[in-house]
């Protein structure tokens, strides 16, 4: 049974007399234990969808079931079962790490002693142990972000929503955070649903991606499947001998899309690069080509986004 099921979700709001369709019919499912990412530029409707799923916002139409509970019929039931870490975080600089963790646990109805135990465990899990009694304003960006995430985990939810978890972090803190998120899934089986406009984050961290643009999910799949679907791998073969003869030989191989020569290099695109490579190597061997090096370049998720929307995610973002 899917842990999230969204059917025909829409959300429309009015700003200054103008109607904005932030979400225009979103359908998807998430299985337990997945790390799933909403990828899209700012304003794509990712956060709005997330807020509907976390009961912070009522959908204009459509239905969503989260952790087996209908968001509209029983919002409190959903809230008990999920963790939610907003983009803004959720900490006051004057509060201390442990006291906020304990308070948050108690707001979930956990008793005082258990709340203290949970807070200590989470500090350890998220490398915050020495910081428990520090005012939050004295933490680094990465530490503060981990505190935000710990706050979303105090009640051991089976599903946690992270809105743009790594915005504003330096590269070291980001990869650190990714490790923590992955461990959460691997060790506790927690389903993680995150939004991001960072391609590398979606690519490295997520098992599956839902690409969102203008309020719709325009593609979904594993990062690899998405890249394969949109544009083939680029295989480059560098040769010692006659590149044009090599082109003629290699063009006979199955599964190739385009083939071109530039200097001593034959560049070709193939739907499945690894598979094509087997054929290419065999053909090169039989024709006794003087093969010097081979390189497969995968398309990036940005290529995917470009192909789907006609604009680059990075331009779109800035």
């Amino acid at each position: 049974m899917p842990i999230i099921q969204a059917t025909g979700l829409t959300h429309t709001f009015t700003v200054g007399g103008r109607t904005v369709e932030a979400v225009r019919g979103v359908d998807f499912e998430v299985s337990p234990g997945e790390i799933i990412g909403f990828l899209g530029p700012n304003g794509a409707g990712k956060t709005t969808t997330l807020r509907i799923l976390t009961t912070m916002l009522k959908p204009t139409s459509g239905r969503a079931t989260v952790a087996g509970v209908d968001v509209d019929a029983d919002p409190a039931g959903v809230r008990r079962r999920i963790g939610y870490v907003a983009q803004a975080g959720g900490t006051d600089g004057n509060c201390r790490v442990a006291e906020e963790l304990i308070l948050q646990a108690r707001l979930y109805g956990i008793g005082k002693r258990d709340a203290e135990r949970r807070a200590a465990e989470l500090c350890e899990r998220l490398d915050l142990t020495g910081l428990a009694d520090r005012p939050i304003r004295t933490l680094s960006g990465g530490q503060r972000r981990r505190t935000d995430i710990a706050l979303g985990l105090v009640h051991e939810p089976q599903l946690v929503f992270l809105d743009e978890p790594s915005v504003g972090l330096d590269p070291q803190s980001r990869s650190d955070l990714w490790t923590h998120i992955r461990r959460l899934r691997d060790e506790l089986g927690t389903t993680v649903f995150l939004t991001t406009h960072y391609l590398d984050e979606a690519d490295t961290l997520c098992d599956r991606i839902l690409v969102m643009n203008h309020g719709r999910v325009i593609a979904e799949g594993t990062p690899d499947a998405l890249k394969r679907r949109i544009s083939g791998d680029v295989v480059s073969l560098t040769l010692g001998g006659d590149a044009d003869r090599a082109k003629a030989v290699l063009a006979e191989c199955p599964g190739l899309d385009e083939i071109a020569v530039s200097g001593q290099t034959v560049r070709l695109t193939a739907r499945g690069g690894e598979q094509a490579l087997v054929w290419l190597m065999r053909a090169a061997d039989q024709a006794d080509l003087d093969l010097r090096s081979v390189n497969i370049a995968r398309p990036t998720l940005d290529d995917v986004f470009l192909a789907l929307t006609g604009s680059s995610l990075n331009e779109n973002h800035s």
Binding site: M56, P75, A86, Q87, A88, Q104, L107, Y108
Partner: protein, 255 residues
């Protein structure tokens, strides 16, 4: 009951934050203290000259309730600024995503503001005593009940408005526009009995007119007369209406 325990959790958190930065309640006391020091002695002279509605020898008992209202109008009425900060930092949403009672999120904050105002009241009454305030004990104790009702009402209203307005830039001028007329129309500086009829009528349309009259009468030693009873009733009803309004704003799904 979870409403009570939830509220006290929020109350304890807000109280911790207040104790960590006690500057604001102290600064809040500064303005009424200045009035007490620099205006109070003038009122004593005015009362001595014989003014309708300002009994000779009762100048301080006349003056102090107005200052307590002033304290409320510049303390709890602006408490909603903190909810705007909590909205911005995500603290409010973080709490709203838990199954905690929506009303507790408001109640805990209102309780903090009420306690702060009561403590300020103790300080102000003590300073006023030093200047010459003498009043029966029951009357003084009644001040705390009035102050508590004022704090609950204004704080709840302010938090609700904060959620609605969501920006300090609009919130502060909005409340200033409301607070100054409320303050002047309650007759905190001079008795409204001196007012021309039109001003008296407008003044009777605002709750603080009745509340301040009730508080003064209580300090004069008349606890059961209709003025005190009306004042108390207006205070309680105003507090209840504001609390209901604030609670409704807090329980909206999209706040």
């Amino acid at each position: 009951m979870s409403l009570i325990s939830d509220s006290s959790l929020i109350f304890a958190r807000q109280m911790r934050l207040s104790l960590r930065s006690p500057a604001w309640p102290i600064i809040g006391l500064f303005q009424p203290a200045l009035y007490l020091a620099f205006l109070g002695p003038l009122l004593v002279s005015v009362a001595g000259a014989g003014v309708d509605g300002l009994p000779a020898g009762a100048a301080w008992r006349f003056f102090v309730p107005g200052l307590l209202i002033q304290l409320g109008l510049f303390g709890p009425l602006f408490a909603g600024l903190s909810i705007i900060a909590d909205l911005r930092s995500g603290v409010f949403e973080r709490m709203r995503v838990t199954p905690v009672s929506r009303f507790a999120l408001l109640a805990g904050r209102v309780m903090r503001d009420t306690v702060v105002l009561l403590v300020q009241t103790v300080v102000l009454l003590t300073v006023a005593y030093a200047f010459g305030l003498r009043a029966p004990l029951v009357g003084l104790l009644l001040m705390f009940l009035f102050v508590a009702a004022i704090a609950v009402g204004l704080s709840a209203l302010s938090h609700g408005l904060g959620l609605l307005v969501r920006s300090e830039e609009s919130f502060t001028p909005l409340l200033n526009v409301a607070a100054i007329p409320l303050l002047l129309l309650s007759g905190i500086l001079l008795p409204m009995t001196l007012a021309p009829q039109w001003l008296d009528v407008i003044s009777r349309l605002t709750p603080f007119r009745y509340i301040v009259d009730g508080m003064r009468t209580a300090l004069y030693g008349d606890y059961t007369g209709s003025v005190v009873v009306t004042g108390a009733a207006v205070a309680v009803v105003t507090a209840a209406v504001c609390l209901v309004l604030g609670a409704r704003l807090f329980s909206r799904r999209h706040a």
